[in-house]
Symmetry: C2
Amino acid sequence: MRRWTARLLALTVVLGVLAVDAEVRADPLPSWNETTSKAQILSFIDQVTDPASPDYVTPAERIAVFDNDGTLWGEKPFYFQLFFAVDKLKELAEQDPAIVNSPAREAAIAGDFEALFAGGEEALLDVIFASHADISVDDFTADVREWLATARHPVTGRRYDGMVYQPMLELLSALRDNGFSTWIVSGGGIHFIRAFADDVYGIPPEQVIGSTVKTVYEVVDGVPVIMKTPAIGFIDDKAGKPVAIDAHIGRRPIFAGGNSDGDFEMLEYVTSGEGPRFGLLIHHTDAARESAYDRDSSVGRLDRGLDEAGERGWLVVDMAEDWAAIYPGP
Amino acid sequence: MRRWTARLLALTVVLGVLAVDAEVRADPLPSWNETTSKAQILSFIDQVTDPASPDYVTPAERIAVFDNDGTLWGEKPFYFQLFFAVDKLKELAEQDPAIVNSPAREAAIAGDFEALFAGGEEALLDVIFASHADISVDDFTADVREWLATARHPVTGRRYDGMVYQPMLELLSALRDNGFSTWIVSGGGIHFIRAFADDVYGIPPEQVIGSTVKTVYEVVDGVPVIMKTPAIGFIDDKAGKPVAIDAHIGRRPIFAGGNSDGDFEMLEYVTSGEGPRFGLLIHHTDAARESAYDRDSSVGRLDRGLDEAGERGWLVVDMAEDWAAIYPGP
């Protein structure tokens, strides 16, 4: 019985390898133009997955981390999560006008983003906490999903989760098809991203890392829930990203993708490990199809990363040159 | 080519199912006596994995969480991590006697645990930080591994990682063989447990959740590292456990195992979700082979859990009755 089992398992493995081999011969990155960027990515995947390669990496160590805003989906004119916060504040204010109890919330309701931003971080948190605090994680998740299903981006008219980058969806799939685990390490809110990451990116909740508010465990009317509170827990940006990677993953990834200087330390941490490493920066160069910005942008500023990518061996992806498509579908 | 691929994949799946089916007919829990406890566990696994069952759970949602101290390995006469801290303090004091700069550290060096415990949490942290702070995560991990390879438990004479519970190793494997992911949610230190969890339990670093000190990202002599600092980050105990589960996993597990009232909220949270749920408490009843303690123990106190397990439908595992073996090997 045992020998029969072993033979079946061996045959299973062999056939599985053959099937996977035939499958991957199709172009895994059809929305990437045939530039050196695409070639470098595919070469790296080959290098770490070929058992005969001196740079072979076991599947457990094939960990890839990605920023979200500006890397996997858009971030202009400002972070999509802020649109959610403002839309939700308006909805709450209709039910209870008393919630509009500060200049920041008044500015948000009026759509005066200039005035809102002028109030700095304190004003933003005041607006954000209206929808992100004193609510259970389950209810918050439902709110985000309802918003995504109905809200439209003011410039493109698309659903916000329709503004993910098709070439990056393909990269995520290509990595997973080659035994990688794919993670999000975002300055955005962990519960906000988890509400759609599995459906949209194929990334399950446990592989989403983000900024947090403090949460507490409560039994409400006999039902245990996790409540979000109006206090910052952790800011997953800049030097916070490697810290969060250690806390959640506990080993150093071998692949990191970002688009702004908020991702600098993450790429530095990931690409300084031993063995094969890949650092990737999305450079927003495509004013015609998306947006063109870098050193002078308040959202997604990329300055030091551009200066040092060359010497550090990081790939700078030129959206206009390297991508045949931006968004999924027509 | 595509059709050939599809056929190979289909055959692969069929053979895989046959092989797995043959494999699981062997007793997955040989170190569990044939009591109702074992039957309940196996019945639950059947219930959630049988596609024809109304309680079928998809593999992605088959998440099982376990406490560590007293649940997966011993915790007497006190937490093994404290033995590490004291042993390491002695070693550090040999190199630099000036490190013994407090009554707590003096008591620890002298092996006077009564005096050490009398100092409360502050005294314990003072001893623990000597080995757990101002050190990189990589160096700390190496320290733990070196200690595990050489230290011996004062009562059993065993390696500390030889005091894992064989029946629980089998339970972890049985769950994983049935598509579960297995996680540790421990009051112990996250980096301490990660140093051995993969080797000993088959649980990778990213599935270990524990208490933390605050960490920071630093580039030391050009090398980016994560440094542990002498400040408490998060205490993963009691109501902290569901909070940490939400932070790291982001969905409610369906199986939870613990042994003390520190695990109460975790079991409450897990077993209050919809659909099939399993709560398990290890009751240390075996003075002959291990240790017998519950309501009056300072380490691993189990009081409310014993009172409420019945009404909450949690299984209380009686070590003396239910387990044919305690530790692995002879």
